[in-house]
Structures are given as structure tokens and as C-alpha cells.
């Protein structure tokens, strides 16, 4: 006899996942048993567990930034130090109805609508191979989402969330190599804290208050001792429109982005940004971002990377094209072409608008191929050019990654 409910015993998730689960039960071929009561108990939770693996290597013409010459020389194939690095990951996500016991406890005015706990164990090739520091936990989406039935589209995410600054992803990226410009500039797109999102007519507003600590799960003293924080806000078109645009701002104190794409000591920052996104039919997506801002405006400019001690204005922009070939004269050939995805991204950051040699520029071309439901192979050529004096060297690097994401 089928039991329409199934228990899940993931103790670490406490109340959430120790509650009965249905909707994913195995079919034993028998009709469901009537509940018997006058009221019907509907499925109130769906949850899922996923596995993730990324193998990422890089061949760099000028050697790997961040690695000492004693560890690697030039012209070597190495594990990639750039995000997404080599990692294994696990993700538990789910969504709940208002009938979930936890929501009954919350009284109906606030509901736990969804959760996503996504952790990765990454290899940091910039650390010596015999050190435990070479392995570190990272998160990309680790949150709960609260909603209220009284206001449509109002939600609060708590945990590690996408900060409301710059372009919003249409769907949360998984294993993507190309990141928005805040990853080049501020250093991260995800941060720990909370984001409140709500409607303004057809538009969305978002307010974020986060630690400024970035993607890694830092211990509390990091935040308090370093005095890092980040306030972000965005007003823009919702992510489900073909043409999206938004204005956003950032204010706070967050770690500087070091040459090896790691984070240094916090520095005061503000940014104002605009972003555009356009989905041209279904095969082409165009994205553009631009920002202006300042690092070290609060008397701490000496910490700002690439600065000469004065809190000068900085700026940057990014343009990106994502294209799936719409070719093929038959359904079969069309489906074959749809396994390929081409990307091009140009990103520039001017660390000091008063200096002509303060900009870093990067052009990335990507070819991706879907191999199976779960496997995607990516090849990226990154051309760093016109690199600001003292911030690095011009370089060409080829990144290859094999990404697995499955249940």
C-alpha cells in the first residue's frame, strides 16, 4: 500500500526537512490511499538534492596570476584559480506551501516559501598542495526565502544571496564562467545577509544589507573585526521581461579585489550602476552594465587596490552576448545546433578616471557544448589587455571546464 507521504531525516536541516515529504515518492503501482478525513492534506513540500562537480583547468601564456614561480612556471596547464574553480558541490533546495507545519507556526502572515542550501568544496590552486588551506568551502546561494500572502511579489531572502547591485540573473547561474562586472570590480555577486524585494507597479525594488564579506562562509569575527558591511539597492524591470533595465547603488566597506581574484582588507566604497538586458527572440541575449564609483572615500584609500592614495573616481562597463545558433533546416539539425552556446564578453574597469593607464580590460570568448542532461563542456579564451600599471600583466589564457550538475 502506498504511503502518500514520506519522511526525510536530514537532521541538520531540522524542522524543515524532518517534516513529511510527498511528491517524490516511488511508485509502487497501487492507488493512493484516501486520507479518510473530510479535508485533504495536499503535498506541502517539494525538496530536491543535487550533486555538482566542476573540473577547471587553465593554460596561461604568461603564467598563473597568484601562483609563485616556484610553484609553477609559464606555459603550464594548471587547475584554474578563477571562479568557478575546481570543486565538488551539494545542494538541497525546496519549496513549501502555506499548509506546511512551519508556516502554520508562523501564523499565516509570513511564510517560509523556499530554501536553497548550496555548498561547494573548492580547490584553491594558489595554496600549496600540502596545505589544508588549499580546500575551502564556498557557497553560491544559501538562503531561506520568506513571503507574505498579503503582498504579491514581496519577499525576504536571508543567508547568502545575490546582492541587488548590477544586473539580476534571469535564472541563477550554475557553473557559469562569465560573471557580471561586479565580480570584476567589487569581487563578488553573492554575499551574506538579507535582501528585501518588492513591487513598485510593474517594477521591482530591492534592498540588501549584507556583510560585504563575499561568497565564502566567514566566521563572525571577520565581519566585526574588519568592520565590513554593504548596503545595496536596485530598482528595475523584473527578471522575466525580455527587455530589462535597472539602476542600482552600493555603499559600504568591503574587501578589495586582489590580483589573484581573492579578497583583501576592506575598503570603503560606493557605486552607482545601470544595467540593460535584452532577450532577442529565444536564441540571443544581450547584456550591458556600466558603473561609476569610488574606493577609499572614507580616508582608507591606501587600502584600495590600484590607487595611488587618493580616493579617485573609478568606472567600468561590461557588454556580453550569449548566442545559441538558431540554425538547421530540420528539427533534428536544429536540436543539434541548440547544443552549442557561444558567449562573448568585454569588461573594462578604470581604477582612476584621472589616469589614462589605470584601466584593466578583458575580452572573453566562450564556446560551450551540452554533452548530456548533466554534463556541459566549456572552453574559454580570456584575453587580458591594456592592463593598468602595477596591477598585472597582459595575458592570454585558455580555460577548460567540465561541469556536472545533476540529481
Amino acid at each position: 500500500m502506498r504511503n502518500p507521504r514520506r519522511s526525510c531525516g536530514v537532521a541538520a536541516l531540522g524542522l524543515l526537512l524532518s517534516l513529511p515529504v510527498s511528491g517524490a515518492e516511488a511508485g509502487d503501482g497501487e492507488p493512493p490511499e484516501p486520507p479518510g478525513a473530510a479535508e485533504i492534506e495536499r503535498t506541502w513540500i517539494h525538496w530536491d538534492f543535487r550533486k555538482e562537480l566542476n573540473l577547471a583547468v587553465v593554460y596561461s601564456h604568461e603564467g598563473l596570476p597568484g601562483l609563485s614561480s616556484s610553484e609553477t612556471g609559464v606555459d603550464h596547464l594548471e587547475l584554474s584559480p578563477r571562479f568557478p574553480r575546481t570543486f565538488i558541490g551539494a545542494e538541497v533546495e525546496g519549496n513549501l506551501t502555506e499548509e506546511a507545519p512551519v508556516n502554520r507556526l508562523l501564523g499565516g502572515h509570513v511564510q517560509l516559501a523556499a530554501f536553497d542550501f548550496h555548498l561547494r568544496l573548492e580547490v584553491d590552486p594558489t595554496e600549496p598542495t600540502n596545505e589544508l588551506d588549499r580546500y575551502e568551502f564556498m557557497a553560491q546561494d544559501f538562503w531561506i526565502r520568506l513571503e507574505t500572502p498579503h503582498i504579491d511579489r514581496l519577499s525576504l531572502r536571508i543567508g547568502q544571496v545575490t546582492v541587488p547591485y548590477g544586473v539580476n540573473p534571469v535564472l541563477a547561474p550554475r557553473g557559469r564562467f562569465l560573471l557580471p562586472i561586479e565580480a570584476h570590480d567589487v569581487g563578488f555577486k553573492w554575499d551574506w545577509g538579507g535582501v528585501l524585494k518588492g513591487p513598485l507597479g510593474d517594477y521591482d525594488w530591492e534592498l540588501g544589507a549584507t556583510t560585504g564579506a563575499g561568497m565564502q562562509p566567514h566566521p563572525p569575527h571577520y565581519v566585526f573585526e574588519e568592520d565590513a558591511y554593504m548596503l545595496t539597492a536596485r530598482l528595475g524591470a523584473p527578471t522575466y521581461w525580455d527587455f530589462q533595465y535597472g539602476l542600482s547603488g552600493l555603499f559600504g566597506k568591503s574587501p578589495t579585489l586582489m590580483l589573484d581574484k581573492r579578497l583583501g582588507p576592506p575598503v570603503s566604497r560606493w557605486r552607482a550602476a545601470g544595467d540593460l538586458f535584452y532577450k532577442l527572440l529565444v536564441h540571443t541575449m544581450l547584456m550591458g552594465q556600466a558603473f561609476v564609483g569610488q574606493d577609499g572615500f572614507d580616508g582608507d584609500s591606501e587600502k584600495a587596490f590600484g590607487m595611488d592614495g587618493d580616493p579617485n573616481l573609478l568606472a567600468g562597463f561590461l557588454v556580453e552576448v550569449d548566442f545559441v545558433p538558431p540554425f538547421g533546416s530540420t528539427e533534428e539539425s536544429r536540436r543539434e545546433w541548440q547544443n552549442w552556446e557561444l558567449n562573448a564578453q568585454l569588461a573594462s574597469v578604470f581604477f582612476d578616471l584621472e589616469r589614462h593607464d589605470s584601466d584593466n580590460n578583458s575580452l572573453t570568448l566562450e564556446v560551450a557544448r551540452s554533452l548530456t542532461d548533466k554534463l556541459t563542456l566549456r572552453l574559454d579564451w580570456v584575453h587580458d589587455f591594456h592592463v593598468a600599471t602595477g596591477t598585472g600583466v597582459e595575458d592570454d589564457a585558455i580555460f577548460v571546464s567540465l561541469y556536472y550538475y545533476g540529481r
Binding site: A26, R42, N95, T162, L171, D202, D204, R335, Q338
Partner: protein, 617 residues
């Protein structure tokens, strides 16, 4: 050559004699004897129901009548109230067990409303999924079954599946009630992943599987189906939507880069499979059907999910609109003689305004703007909007979704079952849309979308505008579900249309329409020619309060679903309908004057109108 006759009848006297004027129900037709309904005196039946249905007694009809009259809160506020629990319906959709790991599971199933025992009360049929082997065959061992619920006429339903002989295992997806053999009884066509099934109604509460003889099985993944008399020869032909060339473990098919970008991370999406051509069957009038898809001119490339027969150019011939998933929609103009011309692009109803094929799901037709022409509405996927196409005449349609106020909400919803209906009986066609995402993990990937989604209730505000009023109809209709099918019909014979929503891999939602206010209705059970149980394709033009409304007998619409074949007109405060003109397929026309409100009237081209059994409550 069709014969046109015009008869003018005055219905007031007839109906007044039957009405009784009081709250007591008018006499009902005695139930038929059969395995599902043993012969019994009315009193005995009532006693039996009282003895066996105690929970339902708490929701007894008179009590609910009071609530209906006043609105749930007693303030005239309209409500859509979840009565699934008290109804006794315990069907639970089963997508075949396990996780959501292929597109067949996420497509769900529809629901059918039809008065199979001809007692004047709508019964409910729920198509059920099944456990499949990796190559798509039915797994051995016990399987979940589709279920037929008989309306007990007191707000409760009884499972009569086995007694009716409808418990054949199949991966059923949709259904259509129709009198395919013209014997005056509603038969049942069940679409499936795999061979479809045609059950003929024996008239004793049981059905007989006549699929093989009729030749309408097919072998594909069929979704929606619809019956209509395509060539006006007096019998019902059959259109069957076929979807994807799919098997659970199909070698060589995987989620493409494009599909992954759209969120299909764990199994292939509809873009990754070949489509399967739809099928058109001509009813040869002897219990058999002939596949005339090629001769009729059906288009080969489509991924059909929704279909509706409707006469879009008022030429007396049934045209066909098909909602396709990720391929352009089809609009077939009926040229007569079983010849169809596909003109969706020319008519402007094939793709979105920017030229992209959308993910069409459910579809319905109705005259939302009161201009006498039938318009089209089709539900779509996220990042798209549910499209309302205004019929401007001359096979020219205009996408008026934005202007109508229907677009903004639907970008983040996946629409499925849908129907035009006059929810508040004000004489304007409202719209109901069932929503639910296709990916059970979308909450983790999107800041704006959720797997469970609340339905849309749009009231027609007049002037071509709609207003979303879901929250005004109470909390039950704002509940987030993974909705799929939708059938609308008057389950309790109180003159307004209730709703049955199917939920994939879960219990359905039965919403009773407890309308507030005092708007009146006129309802018609239109019979077909030659003893046909339902006059599918008949066009009704009703004039009341200076306004003329047009509706068709069109039970097969929405998504994989079959609705109440009766036609309901909201009259607002009008005490009567001044004029009713009915045109049956083939051209027979009747005109009635001074049509009373608040009654179910049986109209037939071959007989005088009469008040139906199963009276207004």
C-alpha cells in the same frame, strides 16, 4: 443543403408552470438503474446518502445555499470556495512515481465534466498517470487508475469507476465527453501517453471500450482532444493533439544548451524532442472513424497541447485552433468538405508579436468584447504572456493582451488550463487561468518564479479591459498549486459555473462559485440533431437588457479537459432574456422570445424547449 427553419416560441408560460416559485428544487429525473446507481425511490436514496455521507451533511446544500445567496461572509462578497474535502473526491493524480524526472510527468493531466448518467447533474472524470518502464510501456503490477465520480446531487460525489468499467490502466492525460455515436448518451474519449481509449456509454451506468472498433487509438503521446461536426453531416468528428516523440529513457536526446539556459537542468525539455503530428478523425456514422489528417490538410510540425473547435468566421463551419508548445500555433480554417486550411500566420495567431513560437498550453474561445465575433485566448510559458487575440473579422486577429491588462502578471507564470466564463453573471466573459511551473526546482533558481503558482481570476471590466481579482474571491483561489487542467461547469446546478482544477501529482481543487450579488442567469442544455446528446457547435445569440451575447456549445477546451456542455449567460439584473436565437450545425435555426431567467432549459432542434431536470438551486 442545410435546412433553415425559424421558430418563435414563447417560453414564459412553459417555464412558469415548472418553476414553482419556491425554494424547493423542481422535480428531478429519476436516476437510472445500473451498477453505479441502483434503482431506489428518491426518499430511499436520500436516506442512503444521509447515512453514508455524514461529513457532507455538514456542508448540506441548504446551508450552502444561504452562504451562496449572501456570499461567504454574508456581505454579498463573491467567493470561490474549496469544497474538495467535503465533496468526497479523493482522486490524487499520480505522475508515475519517483521524482519529477521527465517532461511527461510535468505535463500533468486534465479533467472532464459530463453528465454520464443523464440525471441532470455533472459528474467528474479524472485521467490518471501510470508507472512506466524506461521504454515507455506500462509497468507490470498494480497501477493507479483514472476515476469517475458520480454527482450525488448534495454536494458530494461517489467513486463509480469500477462499476462504470473505466478502470483500464493507462497513462491517461486528458478526456472529452461527447456523444460520438449519436445515441443520446455521453461517451468518453480518454487521451493517453500510448493508445487512446474510446468508451461508449451503454446507458446503464457502464461504459464499453470500443477503441479498436472505432479506430481512434493512435499510439502517440496525446494531450487534448475535441469533438465537433466538421462537415455538418450530423455526427461528431474528432481532433486529437499529439505532443512529443517521447520515451522516458530516450537514447540520443538530452537537455540542450538552449534548454539548460531556460532552466531544463535535469531532463530534456520540449525543445529537445521531435513533435508528433496531430490527428483528425472523421466520424463515418457507423461507430468507426477514419484518419483524414493528410487529406484534410493538417500541418505536420506541431507539439500540440490544446485545441478548441469554434466558428471564427460565422460561416456555420467549425474551425480549429491548436496551441502548440515551442512551435507555431495552428489555426485551421474550415473550407467545408473536410478540407482545412492552416492560416495561423496570416491571421496573426501563430507566434508572439516578435515572431517567436511560444509555449502554448491551454486554449479557449469566446466573445470577450461583445462584438459578436469569437476571440481566442491561449496560455503560455514564463517569459511569455498568455495571449488574447481579438477577432477583427476577415480572419484578422489582433493581439490585445497588453491593452486588456492580461500580460503583466503572466510573464512569471506558466499558464495551463483556461476558460472563458461569466463568473459573476454580469454578461461579460471573464477568464480563469490555472498556473503552475514545469520545474519543481525553479524556486531555487529564480528570484521571481515559483513552482506552485496561484490561479488567475480576471473579471471582464468592459471596454476590452480585464481586472485581476483573485484575492477578492477568497483565500482558496489564491492558493498556490501546480495546476494543470481546468474544467468549468455548474456542479451544483445553482446557475453559476464552478471550477475543477487538476494539480500534478496531487489532489485536485474543486472550487464552488458562491457568487455574491443578485445577478441573474439563463442556462441552456442544447441538444444536437438526430438525438445527439449535446449540440456541439450550436451558436446561441441571446439579447437581454439591450445587449446581445454570443456563445457556442463548446465543451472541449482548456487544457486536456472537458467542460460543462451547457451554456450559461449572465444577465446582470435583467429579469428575462428578450430574445434567444440558436443556430445548430447544419443551419437549423430557432428563435425564442421572453426567455425566463434562473432556469435550465433544454433546447433541441427537434423538440419544444423544456425545463431541465437538475433544477436551479
Amino acid at each position: 443543403m442545410s435546412v433553415t427553419r425559424v421558430t418563435i416560441g414563447v417560453l414564459v408560460g412553459l417555464v412558469a408552470g415548472c418553476a414553482g416559485g419556491g425554494p424547493e428544487p423542481a422535480p428531478r429525473r429519476a436516476p437510472r438503474e445500473g451498477p453505479g446507481r441502483p434503482a431506489a425511490a428518491k426518499g430511499q436514496q436520500a436516506d442512503r446518502r444521509k447515512a453514508t455521507r455524514e461529513p457532507a451533511a455538514k456542508e448540506s446544500k441548504p446551508a450552502r445555499q444561504d452562504a451562496a445567496a449572501k456570499g461567504e461572509a454574508g456581505d454579498g462578497t463573491p467567493r470561490l470556495v474549496d469544497v474538495t474535502g467535503p465533496s468526497g473526491v479523493r482522486f490524487r493524480h499520480d505522475w508515475g512515481g519517483g521524482k519529477l524526472d521527465h517532461v511527461l510527468k510535468t505535463a500533468g493531466a486534465g479533467v472532464g465534466l459530463g453528465d454520464y448518467d443523464d440525471d441532470g447533474w455533472l459528474d467528474i472524470f479524472f485521467p490518471q498517470g501510470a508507472v512506466l518502464t524506461p521504454d515507455g510501456a506500462l509497468a507490470s503490477g498494480a497501477q493507479p487508475r483514472s476515476m469517475l465520480y458520480r454527482n450525488d446531487r448534495d454536494g458530494t460525489f461517489t467513486d463509480v469507476t469500477r462499476a462504470a468499467g473505466l478502470d483500464r490502466p493507462a497513462y491517461a492525460t486528458g478526456c472529452a465527453f461527447a456523444d460520438h455515436d449519436g445515441d443520446g448518451r455521453l461517451d468518453l474519449y480518454v487521451t493517453c501517453y500510448g493508445p487512446n481509449i474510446l468508451y461508449t456509454n451503454r446507458g446503464d451506468g457502464t461504459f464499453e471500450d470500443v477503441t479498436e472498433k472505432a479506430g481512434v487509438a493512435g499510439k502517440e503521446w496525446s494531450t487534448s482532444s475535441a469533438f465537433a461536426d466538421l462537415e455538418n453531416d450530423g455526427d461528431l468528428d474528432l481532433y486529437v493533439c499529439n505532443y512529443l516523440d517521447f520515451r522516458p529513457n530516450m537514447v540520443g536526446v538530452h537537455s540542450s544548451a538552449l534548454s539548460k539556459r531556460e532552466g531544463w537542468h535535469f531532463f530534456p525539455g520540449p525543445r529537445d524532442y521531435e513533435g508528433v503530428a496531430d490527428v483528425l478523425y472523421r466520424n463515418d456514422g457507423d461507430g468507426t472513424f477514419a484518419d483524414i489528417s493528410r487529406d484534410a490538410g493538417l500541418a505536420p510540425n506541431g507539439k500540440g497541447l490544446g485545441v478548441v473547435f469554434t466558428d471564427l468566421d460565422a460561416d456555420g463551419l467549425q474551425d480549429i485552433y491548436v496551441a502548440n508548445d515551442k512551435t507555431p500555433n495552428f489555426l485551421y480554417r474550415n473550407r467545408g468538405g473536410c478540407k482545412l486550411e492552416e492560416i495561423a500566420f496570416q491571421a496573426g495567431v501563430a507566434v508572439s508579436p516578435d515572431g517567436e513560437a511560444t509555449a502554448g498550453m491551454g486554449v479557449d474561445a469566446g466573445d470577450y468584447d461583445g462584438d459578436g465575433r469569437i476571440d481566442l485566448f491561449v496560455t503560455n510559458m514564463v517569459f511569455e504572456y498568455n495571449a488574447l487575440y481579438r477577432n477583427r473579422g476577415g480572419w484578422d486577429f489582433e493581439d490585445v493582451t497588453q491593452a486588456a491588462g492580461l500580460a503583466a502578471d503572466s510573464y512569471r507564470y506558466v499558464g495551463w488550463g483556461t476558460a472563458f466564463l461569466d463568473l459573476d453573471l454580469d454578461g461579460l466573459q471573464d477568464i480563469f487561468v490555472v498556473n503552475g511551473h514545469v520545474m519543481d526546482y525553479v524556486d531555487s533558481m529564480s528570484q521571481s518564479m515559483s513552482y506552485r503558482q496561484d490561479p488567475f481570476v480576471y473579471l471582464n471590466a468592459g471596454g476590452g479591459k480585464f481586472r485581476r481579482v483573485s484575492s477578492e474571491y477568497g483565500p482558496d483561489v489564491s492558493r498556490k498549486l501546480v495546476g494543470r487542467g481546468l474544467a468549468v461547469g455548474d456542479l451544483d446546478n445553482d446557475g453559476d459555473q464552478d471550477l475543477v482544477v487538476t494539480v500534478t501529482n496531487d489532489y485536485p481543487l474543486i472550487l464552488e462559485n458562491r457568487r455574491g450579488g443578485s445577478n441573474r442567469f439563463a442556462a441552456f442544455d442544447v441538444r444536437g440533431q438526430g438525438g445527439q446528446r449535446t449540440g456541439i457547435g450550436a451558436v446561441l445569440r441571446l439579447t437581454a437588457g439591450g445587449r446581445t451575447q454570443v456563445q457556442e456549445v463548446r465543451p472541449h477546451r482548456s487544457y486536456e479537459s472537458s467542460c460543462d456542455p451547457r451554456v450559461f449567460f449572465g444577465l446582470g439584473s435583467a429579469a428575462k432574456a428578450d430574445r434567444l436565437e440558436v443556430t445548430w450545425p447544419g443551419g437549423v435555426k430557432r428563435t425564442y422570445r421572453n426567455v425566463p431567467t434562473g432556469k435550465f432549459i433544454v433546447l433541441s432542434p427537434d423538440a419544444k424547449p423544456r425545463v431541465a431536470a437538475g433544477p436551479p438551486r
